[in-house]
Symmetry: C2
Subunit: 233 residues, 2 copies
DNA sequence: GATTGGGTATGGTCTGACCATACTGTGGTC
DNA sequence: GACCACAGTATGGTCAGACCATACCCAATC
């Protein structure tokens, strides 16, 4: 069967080829968020592959948060380039936490690093604190641990947003997302949440006052209060 | 997932169902790295879906770096649970940089945050510096900008590894990976790399001496030397 | 003008087939 | 008994073709 002629050795799977082609097209054609990719059938014909392979490539791109597929017809249908790294990062962290290839302590230490950095940066830039204040108000109105954690998460994500670095903010959101359940348990274990609230007030005031060092300290002590068992200085 | 019974409208795609089932199985059966998932055909039959849907789920898991598929037969064949978040993170960053939904400045600022933290942590823990020294030696022997960057990357990744936090180390590797091309250009622009080398020596010595503050300062100044145009204090 | 209904392009799913790969077991050979 | 060649088989990878649900588009109708 072989030996009768040159048969190209297949080193990459077809869908990986498709991925490379799409990525090349994005780079060369300068495609950006909001632009549409060709339809699956069309792409399959253009690249000379089956629709299955195109679909597997689409699944990868969707997993990475760069495309979003919509059924139906019209300008909004089809595969549209997006920019949603958050859910991709969340899925990644959640699954690896589930596989025990990451430990909660590592996640919380990473949070510590990011939040200190973000708080100091936000304070130095004298960032707008209205989103922080809104989240704080939500925490006061929360009736359950779940609700409390929801608004607590909003506060910390707003802090990361205030750093002005979208990558850091995306990582922060993913970290919070992947540890949501753990946070709820931590709040329930803690019982009294008043100290967490006053910590938040202190962080907000430090950012508002433009005091990076105090903001970083406040964040650090806040995490120590929230996760006394796992926190490492 | 809510158990409200039959729902006339299908809210989740089949492959997402498969994903949830696999994730549940991982959690409930306590599967861990090295364990094998059922074969695609078998999984399809068990879950009552087509093999296509199972394959799309597999592609997602592979993209997220939690499974690795091997063809053939035997104990190593099939879908094996792994833990490779690095390539997943790299792909994610690379694609989003290509889409211009992230800017290089944000990546470098994130690196700054991580490296300061890692250097200080490694110094505080008086981590082993042999990997750092090895990378340093590699930089001296490098004949091209590409080679230099390769060993430079190894140095910085070793620093992140020395922090003892696998999540931070994985993020670091991905950051370096996604900005490899940019780093090569930066080195070529710089011309003289001796200052980068002496920066590394300074970092290594600070870590070896167990001086966290000096280590953080050394890292900070090093990044300022390497990326003078993009660095923000 | 507003409404209605068919046409159609899209992604989502399924079926069944075939290929390349790589182990497994069997049988023969030395 | 040790070794080797070869058929068997389970695996992922790919393809082709079909059908469905969705949601827009547009022409016919009221």
């Amino acid at each position: 069967m072989d030996g009768t002629g040159w048969r190209p050795i297949k080193r990459t799977r077809t869908f990986e080829d498709v991925l490379a082609q799409i990525e090349r097209r994005i780079a060369e054609d300068g495609l950006t968020v909001g632009d549409r990719l060709p339809a699956e059938r069309q792409l399959a014909e253009q690249l000379g592959v089956s629709r299955s392979s195109v679909r597997e490539a689409m699944r990868v791109l969707e997993t990475l948060g760069v495309v979003s597929s919509q059924v139906g017809r019209g300008p909004d249908a089809g595969a549209v380039l997006t920019s949603r790294p958050d859910s991709a990062l969340s899925d990644l962290l959640r699954l690896h936490l589930g596989l025990a290839s990451l430990e909660m302590r590592e996640v919380i230490d990473t949070r510590h690093m990011i939040e200190q950095w973000a708080a100091a940066g936000a304070a130095a830039a004298r960032a707008d604190t209205s989103a922080l204040a809104a989240a704080l108000a939500g925490m006061d109105a929360a009736g359950s641990a779940e609700e409390f954690v929801e608004h607590d998460t909003a506060f910390h994500c707003a802090l990361a947003d205030a750093s002005g670095n979208r990558l850091v903010a995306a990582i922060m959101r993913s970290l919070r997302d992947s540890m949501r359940r753990y946070s709820v348990e931590a709040v329930q274990r803690l019982g009294d949440t008043s100290i967490l609230r006053s910590d938040h007030v202190r962080i907000l005031e430090a950012v508002g006052a433009g005091d990076p060092d105090e903001a970083a300290r406040a964040v650090s002590e806040h995490l120590a209060h929230a996760y006394p068992s796992l926190f490492t200085a």
